[in-house]
Symmetry: C2
């Protein structure tokens, strides 16, 4: 394989450092801020929440990303979302960025911001700036620093999420290939349908690449990775995915859609898919991940819509929690997805490491081995395969089960 | 008021009888079948699930409703949905209707069918026909018979749902007004987003009215009644709403959209709204009903979409269960509804009998009285009012909270 998964996260690529601290913003006895810093200015690409109600840090980041500015630092806090905070919230972003810029000796508009947590309250500026000051003194390029940062941005996440990959590209001087690295950290559980406590994802790379291609690559991988996961259908006000490239790998700069771009794209897809799947499995209260593969669909977009409809269904999610193979619910969720297909041609199977069970064919539920179904539904990853028998397109979506703990977590989130 | 709510349900109108029995289809120690019968042939109007996967009884009923046939009987069973059952399921419908037709001395295609329950299994024909035979001997036009029938079609419902109204229309002979009655029973929790255990609703009236106007009236009231409730976003394979009119009230037949039609429409709206609200509050596991009123919206359709987005949000539903006024989630749900509006112009309030609390204005969360908010969120009916400040249109949607019991009920529904 040309792309190798390697240890680490945001500090895996050359020239990136990270730090974290316990700023006491909302949580006690844990870290709640992270600072990510590149020793060199970065091209930056981003995708953001589609919610009309956008948090202040989203508006701040969009100005930098869409304005073509180079970025060098990212400041993230957990606990307060800085959303629905009006002009004051945006002003607090500006002040945070200015303070960070001065501290790190970079322009204020080279400082990206991210927040996750409860909607409504203003962020406490003094705690935030005190945190930035402390973190600026403890930046490190160690893999451990990246891991710690990925822990500091967690809210209801139960595990931190990071991933890194490397691959070879022709060197700038033409002296044989150099290693290019991509690393990322993420928190939360979604992009199109994220958990309210927000998906944040920060990816770093030392690849030298044109900004327009960087954005093109990011936009290309999102539809089949982050946009194919769902936890609860609620699209956050804060979702942010940023990709920073500082060009320090020494590769011949990617300026067109050549073989090097294709490899970069493939590596980025691998990384985003890995982080997305991890997020889906760590949905609030989840005990199992649900994966739905729709194939032989008539169009790619319809395959995506059908796969997402199954993993988003409350009834499918509840039945996976209860390990009850009430498989009519899968057909039902396909049926209301809103895209045309012939129900009489659909085959649905439950697939696991230990075997597979055919639930239905020709639109009709079959008698199936209940013991085997229970066994397969008891695994950590429950996979449904839906053969639409209509074409050549496919898509996979990921989600998680609906549990008592989801209700508990979201019934008393603020308190 | 020209329209009076009266006691009773499907037997309130003249010439309608009902019976029920315990046929032992799936449940034990309870009734699980109902027979509804009109002494005279009825014009019939209907709306059905939009799910592509349609249960056999839905296909059967559609043939009768769309084919312009007159109907005289409705046979409903709870426990098995007769969905995803292929040609055999449809054949079982035909045999049930033939048996009922013979028993009741009406054509087989005057017999409407309804099923609710688990998807997949075939219905046990012998138990069904034995049930029909028994019920045919115990039909009654008493209000109690209607009430018993409304109980027999329940699945996870905790209360039976019925409603009846009456109003005056000019008589056929011109001798002053006659009383016209509309009565209905329903089970389940939705239409666009119904609970998997299906919404079934049967409405009877003795009004004399053209079939085309009957269907027009039904189609007119559904968008702001049954289509505005949601429990879990899953649209069933079996949803059926039927309106039977036998013309026995003696009113001058309604043949155009005159004042009589307007009054009939108003009464039908009242009845459907009443049944819909009751269903929303009885969503699986629900402890509270959620009502969202969106007003000053730019278009009617956008008002509906925005109101539904709030009541459908898992996070809003969970916060109502936890009585936590995490009001940013309401703004968030408006924001991802998919229709354009200016977040900075929105005002959101929580309203109850004992007062109101303003959560946000100009797109910004306010400091609010937490004690009052807790008090208002502790009622059985939690109402949010969203002023979009964009136009003159409004809509109301109803749903329920998301609870541990919802997860429990749907985690072991089959077993």
């Amino acid at each position: 394989m040309e792309i190798t998964k390697i240890p680490g996260g945001v500090t895996a690529a050359q020239g990136f450092l990270a730090a974290d601290c316990a700023a006491g913003i909302k949580y006690e006895n844990r870290t709640d801020m992270a600072l990510l810093f590149s020793e060199f200015p970065c091209e930056v690409a981003g995708t953001f929440t589609t919610n009309l109600v956008k948090a202040a840090p989203v508006l701040w980041d969009q100005k930098i990303v869409y304005g073509g500015k180079k970025a060098q630092a990212v400041v993230v806090n957990a606990g307060i979302a800085n959303a629905a905070t009006g002009a004051e919230g945006l002003e607090l972003c500006r002040m945070t960025a200015e303070f960070t810029g001065k501290t790190m000796n970079v322009p204020a508009d080279a400082v990206l911001l991210g927040s996750t947590g409860v909607i409504g309250p203003q962020i406490p500026l003094e705690k935030i700036t005190a945190g930035v000051a402390r973190m600026s003194g403890s930046l490190s390029d160690s893999l451990e620093a990246g891991t710690s940062a990925s822990k500091a941005i967690m809210t209801t996440d139960t595990v931190n999420k990071e991933c890194a990959v490397s691959f070879l590209l022709p060197s700038d001087g033409g002296k044989g290939p150099v290693t290019v690295t991509l690393g990322g950290m993420a928190k939360g559980s979604g992009m199109i349908h994220p958990n309210m406590c927000t998906m944040l994802c920060y990816i770093t790379t030392d690849c030298a690449i044109d900004r327009s291609l960087l954005q093109k690559a990011l936009s290309a991988v999102v539809p089949d990775t982050f946009n194919m996961i769902t936890v609860d259908g609620d699209t956050s006000t804060n979702d942010t995915l940023l990709l920073l490239a500082n060009g320090r790998a020494g590769n011949k700069k990617i300026t067109e859609e050549d073989d090097s771009y294709a490899l970069f794209l493939q590596a980025l897809f691998f990384l985003c898919r890995d982080l997305a799947i991890t997020m889906a499995g760590d949905g609030e209260g989840a005990t199992r991940r649900i994966e739905t593969h729709v194939f032989h669909a008539d169009t790619k977009e319809n395959a995506r819509i059908l796969a997402k409809s199954v993993v988003a269904s409350s009834l499918v999610k509840a039945m996976v929690f209860g390990r009850d193979a009430n498989c009519g619910r899968i057909l039902c969720a396909l049926g209301y997805a809103g895209v045309p297909f012939d129900p009489d041609k659909v085959t649905v199977e439950l697939v696991g490491e230990k075997g597979r069970v055919r639930f239905s064919e020709n639109g009709r539920i079959l008698a199936f081995d209940e013991d085997m179904a229970l066994k397969l539904m008891s695994g950590k990853n429950v996979r449904f395969e839906c053969d639409m028998n209509a074409g050549a397109e496919e898509a996979t979506a990921w989600g998680c089960d609906l549990t008592y703990d989801y209700v508990k977590i979201n019934g008393d989130y603020r308190s």
